[in-house]
């Protein structure tokens, strides 16, 4: 039993690592289709990663050892964070390691090193990217936490597994707070994963780039790890959104059938999410950097509204 659980945890971990590029590929593909391009195949990201891993890594003369260590830290931190988010099943031992706040912390850690790596070489672009990334995250992180707090205060837990469990057990009710929280989290996710309209993942050599600017100097396996970590983050947020707010189908016991159902429902959700994201990215244009704060303030506001509506409308006595 215990062995099975830990095995399951391991499986989920691996699954995260493997699924991440696929999701990215799927979104690219859908976007391409929407933009009437034939576009790359869905599995292209795997090829890219493989290629990068085999390429020689180069480092600027001015780069320090931190530049080399960062990719590993960034990747591991993201993977760790992911490992605490229920993917297939809610009884997840690793969920106890890091509750939602710790997850935010781990993501912050990876961002911290990402930004430092960006500044390490000492190029103008790197500093620019780091500065902007920190601005965005500085505004996004509180929004995310506030949104999460709303859920946590409802479920009386910050442990994601228990949170999802709570969602499943309780009879379906409409909670205004959850709607606000969902909206807030969506906005945060967009900002954090560097999607349009906050950042453009496919951009390059643009004065508006954020994430790309930081990893500009990376090459070879370092770059691969960085890219992979980014894809992981995307998947993480996706799962977070879907499994917390729409937990239907996620496995509650360890029987193979339920796990299979879990997997299928997960894939379905992710595909759906990818399509939505792709559409939104196609119809929306990237906004100026200094519109981003407004965007994220909205997220924070929504989060706060959610929390207030929770304490006022739902438990108000």
């Amino acid at each position: 039993m215990n062995l099975q659980i830990s095995l399951l945890a391991l499986v989920q971990l691996v699954l995260y690592a493997l699924l991440a590029p696929l999701v990215a590929g799927w979104i690219h593909w859908v976007k391409a289709k929407l933009q009437n391009r034939c576009g790359a195949r869905i599995f292209q990201p795997y090829r890219d990663l493989y290629k990068l891993f085999n390429k020689e890594a180069r480092m600027a003369h001015t780069a320090s050892q931190l530049f080399r260590a960062s990719p590993y830290i960034v990747f591991t931190a993201t993977l760790l964070a992911a490992s605490a988010v229920p993917l297939l099943s809610i009884n997840l031992p690793t969920a106890a390691i890091a509750d939602i706040i710790a997850i935010a912390g781990l993501l912050a850690l990876s961002r911290f090193f990402l930004a430092l790596a960006g500044m390490d070489v000492g190029t103008a672009f790197g500093g620019m990217g780091a500065s902007r990334e920190m601005l965005v995250s500085a505004l996004a992180e509180p929004a995310m936490l506030v949104a999460v707090f709303t859920l946590a205060m409802t479920a009386h837990t910050t442990n994601l597994a228990s949170l999802v469990g709570f969602q499943l057990t309780e009879t379906f009710v409409l909670r205004p707070s959850f709607m606000f929280a969902l909206a807030a989290l969506v906005l945060v996710a967009i900002a954090e994963t560097g999607r349009i309209p906050v950042d453009n993942p496919s951009t390059h050599l643009e004065l508006t780039m954020i994430h790309e600017a930081m990893i500009l100097e990376y090459s070879g396996r370092h770059l691969a790890l960085m890219e992979w970590a980014a894809q992981l983050k995307l998947l993480l947020y996706g799962t977070l959104l879907t499994n917390v707010f729409f937990p239907w189908g996620i496995a509650q016991d360890l029987s193979l059938t339920s796990l299979a159902i879990g997997l299928l429902s997960l894939i379905a959700k992710l595909l759906l999410l990818g399509i939505i994201l792709a559409i939104s990215e196609t119809v929306l244009a990237k906004m100026r950097l200094f519109r981003t704060p407004a965007f994220l303030n909205l997220a924070l506001l929504l989060g706060l509204l959610g929390m207030l509506s929770h304490v006022i409308l739902e438990i108000g006595v």
């Binding site: 003369h61 080399r68 106890a96 890091a98 500044m119 000492g122 995250s137 509180p142 837990t157 100097e217």
Partner: protein, 667 residues
């Protein structure tokens, strides 16, 4: 084995000794340095031991010294609370002691006397130790003011620059006012109870009104020392100008002594908890935290930045205390304890990483004589050890797992998230906002220290003397290393630590956090296992495995990296001047929160006809709070001096009028 009190006494006497020896050994600086270092380490160890004994045994030792007033001798008391803070002092002191051996060498050829430095450092430590040990208001005040006064002399140590003198003056003035306010707060308690011993005050039955008055006075006094807004103005002035290891002591330890004082007065002596107080502390705390970090972000002077970030961290500590008071007022002891422990934990953490960072700044000063971020860069490759320790400090202070800063902030969040237990709806809706501010603070702190580390230690050197920077002597590195190690340990093993300090809440709130440590050393579960849990060791293990993997790959040398010019999108190879500056880094945030700063920016031509850009970002508190007071006093003074007109007949007129007036009054 001698008692805890004995060790405490040892520490005090050693610190007094270290205050005296410079007088005799000033002509042999080397001997002086050796002795000072030795004594400081001994002080630290003795204090640490006594603190640990007290914490583990939960015994209350008291004593009386034949000093002070004839009817009020100096009462000494060593209980869990003082035990915690005395061990806090101890840890930092050891590190400072080792560090100072290398650092003070820089002053040997300066004009400023080493007697002053060594002597007042000793007195400073004495003061802090005695404050923590004091068990009556009189001794408390004496040691408190001794602490302020001696640290003032240390702030004024480099008194050539007018700015430093001004800082010292401001510091002493505010310290004095704060001290008086504390004194009055004790006065209230004493006049309601009988006498100035803390025993009597604990026993006193205090009506709400008087208790609140005493609370306000104490909060003003200790808050002024702790640098809470808007009474923080002295802190960013005074801390940077002292010698760095002293700045570390002031920021790391002295501020915690203020926290101790507040806990002692409110939680222990008054022993009442009202939601109004909780809200006050919480609000002030949140504001200090947020504005503190924002101001820190805007600084370009490294030590000044660190000082502002102290304001932020003290704010976080007071958020914890405020939460604790709030929950106590509705008698949710358990949650109150979580918040309380969080506050204690963060006090210790801040003591560790802020001292570490100040020592790092000191190392840069020592080897490159520079504390302006705009001129730094690329120090990681020039002083790798300092770079590593400083990085650890930055991660910890940005409250990122798996280091210690995260644990305390996590605990604070956990306490704040229990707000649903409160009955009052207003509070329920207020707390989440505080939590949101805390979150914002944390994120901004991360931004702030990315800036610091990225500008100072990464990239390329921006000035010649930074390019010539050399690693600092071993003693200084060891000093920083110890603190870094503690940062890591406290991050990895929160559970054993919390069970160690469990006696403090038992004594103060008479409630323990047994359930927090119930699930073994791996799992920290403050409220209950399924509410929230945090497995720091596992995270750390995973991270270290990954790092090891990476290093192993590097070490195997198959996949070695090739060095080349930076690509930088194919532009010309970047020069140091092309790097992002500290100001530039903070610009977006400055723009977003522009309202909160007083920004003077402009472009003009200088004498050579060159265009120059100047930017001055200053604290709003000055214009809103301090300037008016100063103006009022000046006005009053210039008005009052008119009566000294110099004409004797006017003087006689004054006397006559007074006489007639008084005669009229009494008749």
């Amino acid at each position: 084995m001698p008692s805890a009190l004995w060790f405490a006494g040892l520490a005090v006497s050693f610190s007094l000794l270290s205050a005296i020896i410079p007088v005799f050994t000033v002509n042999t600086p080397r001997l002086l340095r050796v002795l000072t270092t030795l004594l400081l380490c001994l002080i630290g160890i003795a204090a640490l031991i006594s603190g640990l004994i007290t914490l583990s045994e939960n015994e209350v030792a008291t004593a009386e010294l034949p000093l002070g007033l004839p009817w009020l001798h100096w009462h000494i008391r060593l209980d869990a609370l003082s035990g915690f803070f005395i061990s806090l002092i101890g840890v930092v002191t050891v590190a400072i002691g080792l560090y100072s051996y290398g650092y003070v060498r820089g002053f040997e050829h300066g004009q400023d006397s080493l007697i002053a430095l060594g002597g007042f450092t000793g007195l400073f430590l004495t003061g802090m130790l005695l404050v923590v040990l004091a068990d009556d208001a009189f001794m408390f005040m004496i040691s408190w003011e001794l602490m302020s006064l001696s640290s003032y002399f240390l702030v004024a140590f480099h008194h050539e620059h007018a700015a430093n003198r001004r800082a010292a003056f401001l510091y002493l003035l505010m310290a004095h006012v704060g001290g008086l306010s504390i004194l009055l707060s004790y006065g209230v308690l004493a006049s309601l109870g009988d006498g100035f011993t803390f025993e009597a005050m604990r026993a006193a039955e205090i009506p709400f009104g008087w208790a609140s008055l005493s609370f306000i006075l104490a909060f003003i006094g200790f808050g002024m020392k702790a640098g809470l807004l808007p009474l923080h103005a002295w802190l960013p002035e005074a801390h940077p100008v002292a010698p760095s290891h002293i700045s570390a002591l002031m920021s790391g330890v002295m501020l915690k002594v203020a926290v101790y004082g507040l806990i002692r007065v409110i939680f222990d002596l008054i022993g009442q908890f009202h939601w109004q107080w909780g809200v006050t502390v919480l609000t002030i705390g949140s504001i200090s935290a947020l504005l503190g970090v924002l101001y820190a972000l805007m600084q370009n002077d490294l030590k000044r930045l660190l000082a502002y970030s102290s304001v932020e961290n003290l704010g976080i500590i007071f958020i914890g205390l405020g939460l604790s008071i709030l929950f106590m007022s509705e008698n949710h002891r358990l949650i109150a304890t979580v918040a309380f422990v969080a506050a204690l934990y963060h006090s210790l953490n801040h003591a560790l990483f802020k001292s570490l960072l100040f020592l790092g700044a000191g190392s840069i000063l020592h080897s490159a004589n520079e504390q302006d971020l705009e001129k730094m860069g690329g120090l990681l490759r020039r002083m790798p050890w300092t770079g590593l320790f400083f990085l650890i400090g930055c991660i910890s202070i940005s409250s990122l797992p798996p280091f210690n800063g995260f644990v305390s902030e996590w605990l604070t969040f956990q306490a704040a998230l229990q707000t649903w237990q409160l009955n009052s709806g207003v509070l329920r809706s207020l707390l989440p906002i505080a939590a949101a501010m805390l979150a914002l603070t944390g994120a901004l702190a991360a931004a702030c220290f990315v800036k610091v580390y990225g500008i100072a230690f990464l990239g390329q050197a921006r000035s010649r003397h930074i390019r010539r920077a050399r690693p600092v002597p071993l003693s200084m590195r060891v000093g920083q290393g110890i603190l870094a190690l503690f940062c890591l340990l406290l991050g990895l093993l929160p559970v054993p630590f919390i069970s160690l300090i469990d006696n403090v809440p038992r004594q103060v709130l008479d409630q323990t956090l047994t359930q927090a440590t119930a699930h073994g050393w791996l799992w920290l579960t403050p409220v209950s296992a399924d509410t929230a849990s945090y497995g720091a060791p596992l995270i750390a293990i995973a991270l270290f495995i990954a790092l090891g993997l990476g290093l192993w790959l590097v070490g195997r040398g198959i996949r070695r990296v090739r060095r080349c010019d930076a690509w930088d999108c194919g532009f010309a190879p970047p020069t140091p001047n092309m790097q992002y500056t500290s100001t530039a880094f903070a610009q977006p945030i400055r723009r977003v929160f522009g309202l909160l700063f007083k920004i003077e920016e402009g472009v003009e031509r200088n004498q050579q006809g060159k265009l120059t850009h100047h930017l001055k970002i200053s604290d709003r508190a000055w214009g809103l709070f301090y300037a008016p007071i100063a103006r009022t006093v000046e006005k009053a003074a210039s008005k009052i001096t008119r009566i000294q007109s110099g004409n004797i007949r006017t003087y006689l007129g004054w006397s006559l009028t007074t006489l007639v007036f008084l005669l009229w009054v009494i008749a």
